[in-house]
């Protein structure tokens, strides 16, 4: 099956940056109500405005291989990057996942995230792949981080959060 790329299986078996750590600016708990998958995620950001950098993402997740691996890739791709870069990565990931197979993903932007291109052909699994990413953007908002310093991605992420909460 093209869905289960080796990279996804590796990340799901050995998730990077897993576990809950301190310090953190906000902790959120997100659930996929259709299957009961859960993630508790903490974000630690240093600096403000354009200099804000994601120093750490730590998490405790329970879920399918797609959601586990996607959260692992999130931590891998975002830790050490500015909030602006993180939001660009998030947007590229979201666009690919919701493209219904049309967008193969840009490795420059999302790294191992390209392994999830196949997920976009399975609408029921898109939510699995976005669980950690939604938790991440929510945690940034909870921590009071300004995510609008980059190219207008915050509106889109708000829309997804709403739609993900609608479905139960």
């Amino acid at each position: 099956m093209d869905l289960y790329q080796e990279l996804i299986l590796e990340h799901s078996k050995r998730p990077h940056h897993a576990g809950l750590r301190e310090p953190f600016g906000a902790e959120v708990h997100h659930v996929n109500p259709t299957c009961g998958d859960e993630v508790t995620l903490r974000v630690h950001v240093e600096g403000t405005g354009a200099d804000a950098v994601v120093r750490d993402i730590s998490y405790d997740a329970l879920g399918c291989s797609i959601s586990m691996a996607s959260t692992s890739v999130l931590a891998e791709e975002v830790i050490g990057h500015t909030v602006a870069e993180a939001m660009t990565t998030h947007e590229a990931m979201r666009t690919m996942l919701t493209s219904k197979g049309a967008d193969a993903g840009d490795e420059e932007l999302i790294g191992d995230g390209v392994a999830f291109a196949g997920v976009s052909r399975y609408p029921a699994r898109v939510k699995c792949a976005l669980l950690g990413w939604m938790a991440f953007t929510d945690a940034l908002h909870q921590a009071g981080i300004d995510t609008t310093t980059t190219d207008s991605t915050s509106n889109d992420s708000t829309i997804i959060e709403r739609s993900s909460k609608d479905e139960s």
Binding site: C35, G36, R125
Partner: protein, 432 residues
């Protein structure tokens, strides 16, 4: 069980009545539909009945003085008589609803809508100090409405636990026994006939007898039994029964509630509006007798007629033969899963007092991933908590993969499913 299973020729004829079963999915693979517990496929005769109603007699039921309205009303009331015959009740004891969820809410709201102390039947008078009893194996549809009723009235919600095997813990091995939970304080006891996850058939007669002994009303969720087992309300001794059309070869958007006549008469309306009234003045309204009292607004008459046709078909096949056929399939599926030590069935391991709702856990692989591999081979199953989240917590699993059988399933479909399942360990690198 004296009834015989379906012959190959009979099964082929049954399958021909469900056109969707001949389609392919995922690059030309024959559909193997094992998700009938979520929604069954539609019998072509039920669709024909809906279409015939819409094309030939469609008009408002119970109003209008023209011929079409008479014929539409006859068709609608004919379906009511069919449902009544199906459960062994009287016509006026059958209320059409949107689905079983609405049927269950209708009963729950009857308690809180009866003004405290002024209920027409003291059994509907619920308040602080009274108790509502449910079980830990309920679908959310027979759980959340009772939680909400408890919240609205101040009554206390209690529940019977589940054993490790997946049966009601009536003896109190892990928690309180039935005798401690079902007491004079219990006003209503709501439970499922068959668990939608475990497949367990609950001992309804024993439970209703115990409830009667303490004066509690009983509400049976029959969604997962109606298409598989014969329902007889007098034999079961229940006060209310709820089920959904779409789980029994009929259309979505229609369900039914059967209720004991004197209780329906004592119950206040749930949803109000047109068609459910006796007289309306600007100051106040009086209500029609049941079942009209509980059917406000224009009903989904074509779907009701479709449900009637689906029930006629279940009767034509014979519930005893359907049960025998599904029992043989369930034994085959359970035996196949038992041969795979990396699979754990969540629910009774043998086919005694259980139907073909078989949930399982593949060690080390999430249910979503199992379901995806099966889907890749054309096998449709459900994954997740199947709207029974507390039950999954009790059984120590986040999610399960669930195959649910119906009269139209064949032994070879189960073999296809088991073959597809055998691909799972290799893909995810777990022990097989």
């Amino acid at each position: 069980m004296s009834a015989t299973t379906f012959t190959d020729a009979e099964l082929a004829r049954i399958r021909a009545g469900f056109p969707i079963l001949s389609r392919t999915v995922r690059d030309g693979k024959p559909l193997v539909y094992l998700d009938s517990g979520a929604t069954s496929q539609r019998y072509a005769g039920a669709l024909d009945a809906e279409r015939a109603f819409s094309e030939q007699v469609n008009s408002a039921v119970h109003r209008g003085a023209h011929q079409l309205s008479e014929e539409a009303t006859d068709a609608y009331e004919g379906a009511r008589a069919t449902v009544a015959r199906f459960v062994g009740g009287a016509d006026e004891e059958v209320v059409f609803t949107k689905n079983a969820t609405e049927s269950l809410n209708l009963v729950a709201y009857a308690f809180s809508n009866s003004v405290a102390g002024q209920a027409k039947d003291p059994r509907l008078d619920l308040g602080v100090g009274d108790e509502i009893l449910i079980t830990e194996m309920e679908h959310h549809a027979n759980l959340v409405p009772w939680q909400e009723l408890a919240r609205r009235t101040g009554a206390t919600l209690r529940w019977i636990g589940v054993t490790d095997e997946g049966r009601l813990d009536l003896e109190g091995v892990h928690g309180p026994a039935l005798g401690e939970l079902l007491t004079e304080r219990t006003k209503v006891f709501a439970f499922t006939h068959v668990s939608n996850v475990l497949g367990t058939i609950n001992p309804v007669r024993e439970l209703t007898a115990a409830a009667r002994a303490v004066g509690a009303l009983t509400v049976l969720d029959a969604c997962q039994s109606a298409p598989h087992l014969r329902l007889d309300v007098a034999d079961l001794g229940v006060d209310f029964v709820a089920f959904s059309g779409h789980k029994m070869f009929g259309p979505t958007g229609v369900g039914a509630l059967w209720g004991r006549s004197e209780l329906l008469h004592a119950m206040p309306p749930f949803i109000t509006g047109g068609s459910m009234i006796e007289t309306v003045r600007m100051e106040a309204t009086t209500y029609a007798p049941p079942p009209q009292r509980f059917e406000a607004g224009s009903p989904n008459s074509a779907q009701v007629v479709g449900l009637g046709a689906a029930i006629d078909y279940l009767d034509e096949l014979g519930l005893d033969r359907i049960a025998a056929h599904e029992h043989a399939l369930t034994e085959r599926l359970l035996a196949g899963l038992a041969q795979r030590p990396w699979v754990r069935v969540v629910g009774p391991a043998d086919a005694v007092d259980r139907v073909g709702a078989v949930a399982f856990d593949v060690q080390g692989v999430h249910a979503h991933d199992v379901g995806q591999v099966l889907d890749d081979q054309g096998v449709a199953v459900r994954v997740g908590h199947h709207c029974a989240w507390p039950l999954h917590r009790r059984m120590g699993v986040t999610a399960t993969t669930r195959a649910t059988l119906a009269a139209y399933n064949s032994p070879s479909e189960l073999d296809t499913m088991l073959d597809a399942l055998d691909r799972v360990p290799a893909i995810f690198g777990v022990a097989s």
